[in-house]
């Protein structure tokens, strides 16, 4: 579903992403881990076609993001970090705008699409409120609803549970898990327990490079008996200190 091939991104003289490659199949939930500034978000932004890679490319559902970014954008649902949305719009209007740009112009289908994600993300009680008046948790769910509206085969979620309370986190994880069977999902997070709870693959990147690409079980097997955060610390420590 997603084929990432040697992605590189330079910001001036700084190399934020340095040759990241991996692939995600349908049914995978890939947990993207790494210290702050490791290049997680930058990699995701390149996969979604928002940033142009300096080198390398990503192929999403058969479409090269460098050659045909629009086709890639049609197939991806993307939740950006801190869920940006137009604050002056109501939830309904905002989802209506997304539906229209996603090509659902007919009133009946547009309504049906919106209705589905409003129910899925439990937004019924706030749908007539403007987004600026919503709490962090609701804003995050609006961003999630927006990403799911066109039922995309690929989901890219940048810190989807950030800012949610423990119950909401759990619920969000359940929704993601339920959808996993027919989608390829990439999510980034700082929370190691989250990766254990829902991901079937882990990629740890540090300083723009992939340092680990394996299943949670084999990661745990690296140091039997240790907690995941100890293993994470061991793997990324050299990067932090240097």
């Amino acid at each position: 579903m997603i084929e990432v091939k040697g992605l590189v991104k330079n910001y001036g003289t700084l190399r934020a992403v340095d040759g990241v490659s991996f692939s995600v199949r349908c049914g995978d939930i890939l947990g993207f881990l790494g210290p702050n500034g490791a290049g997680k978000s930058t990699t995701m932004k390149m996969i979604t076609g928002f940033l142009r890679p300096t080198a390398g490319t990503a192929i999403v559902d058969g479409h090269d993001v460098k050659v045909n970014p629009l086709a890639v954008k049609r197939r991806i649902g993307y939740l950006a970090e801190s869920a940006p949305a137009y604050p002056e719009m109501t939830v309904d209007e905002f989802l209506g705008f997304i539906a229209e740009t996603r090509g659902y112009r007919e009133e009946v289908e547009k309504r049906a699409r919106i209705e589905r994600v409003v129910n899925l993300c439990h937004l019924k009680s706030v749908r007539r409120q403007t987004i600026e008046t919503l709490s962090k948790g609701y804003k995050q769910r609006v961003g999630f609803a927006q990403a799911l509206l066109h039922d995309p085969p690929v989901l890219v979620l940048d810190e989807p549970t950030d800012g949610l309370d423990p119950n909401q986190k759990n619920e969000m994880r359940n929704i993601i898990k339920q959808m996993a069977a027919e989608k390829a999902i990439v999510l980034s997070t700082h929370i190691l327990e989250e990766v254990e709870a829902i991901c079937n693959r882990i990629i740890i990147i540090a300083r723009g490079r992939v340092v680990v690409d394996e299943t949670p079980d084999s990661l745990r097997a690296r140091k039997p008996g240790a907690r995941l955060d100890e293993i994470f610390y061991d793997l990324t420590r050299s990067e932090i200190l240097s």
Binding site: K45, T48, G49, F50, L70, K73, R74, I76, Y78, A80, E81, S82, P84, A85, Y86, P87, E88, M89, E93, F97, I98, E100, T101, R102, G103, T130, Q146
Partner: protein
């Protein structure tokens, strides 16, 4: 191009979601009509014409189009919604055109809201409606060129104030080049052909004939090409 309508709609409605749009409309009307009455002698002149209303438009637009256009891209960048917009299946030019048209429509609304003046003049006297029509057309066209510059400066920064100041500066220069007071000053230093050439790049020069009711294709071409160039650079600035 089918992606333009939803972007236009969102942007246009967005203006009316904050009191800023209403404040803008009221202040623009008060300023434009006020200048016509108190400085342009609209009433005292005793002539059934709107020339004293339109004569201030080049000056007013320097500030008002900058105010209407400064948020176009700077706000998207600051709030991060640009990332949302450009991960939707929308090309940069579609987004630029959609947002530009929305802001332009808003400016046209501000200009057209002076219609009671036209009605009054028509009721009290016998104005040349051709001239009135040409002036409205020219003014709205010119607003588009001004706005193109504002949209471009807005794409260069995430700060609305910087965008405002930049576009005021650029548009002010483009007004000055054709302003008689300024070109008299230039005559002292530069040869006449150069001063005339520079004046050709001014809003003032190209709006002059339209105010008098003459719609000259070269004026239309000037406004359209200036607007087009700005929007082209706008797309480049966003894609860089």
């Amino acid at each position: 191009m089918s992606q333009i309508p939803p972007i236009f709609k969102r942007e246009f409605i967005g203006y009316f979601r904050s009191p800023v749009a209403y404040v803008f409309l009221v202040v623009f009307l008060v300023a434009s009509v006020g200048l016509a009455f108190f400085v342009g002698n609209f009433f005292k002149a005793g002539i059934a014409s709107l020339e004293s209303y339109f004569m201030w438009h080049t000056w007013l637009f320097v500030f008002f189009t900058a105010a209407a256009g400064m948020r176009l891209w700077a706000e998207e960048k600051r709030s991060g919604t640009m990332e949302l917009l450009f991960t939707l299946p929308v090309t940069t030019s579609q987004a630029v055109i959609g947002k530009f048209l929305a802001a332009w429509a808003f400016l046209c609304l501000a200009i057209l809201l002076s219609f009671p003046m036209a009605i009054t003049v028509g009721y009290l006297g016998d104005p040349d409606w051709g001239v009135v029509g040409a002036s409205y057309f020219g003014s709205m066209l010119m607003a588009g060129s001004f706005l193109g510059v504002c949209s471009l400066t807005s794409a260069l920064t995430r700060n609305q104030i910087i965008s405002f100041v930049l576009s005021v500066l650029i548009n002010l220069v483009l007004v000055f080049l054709g302003w008689s007071v300024f070109s008299d000053l230039l005559h002292a230093a530069l040869p006449t052909w150069l001063v005339d050439l520079l004046a050709n790049f001014s809003y003032t020069t190209h709006f002059e004939a339209m105010k008098k009711g003459i719609i000259d294709p070269k004026d239309i071409v000037f406004f359209l090409s200036l607007g087009g160039l700005s929007l082209f650079l706008n797309v480049l600035a966003l894609e860089r």
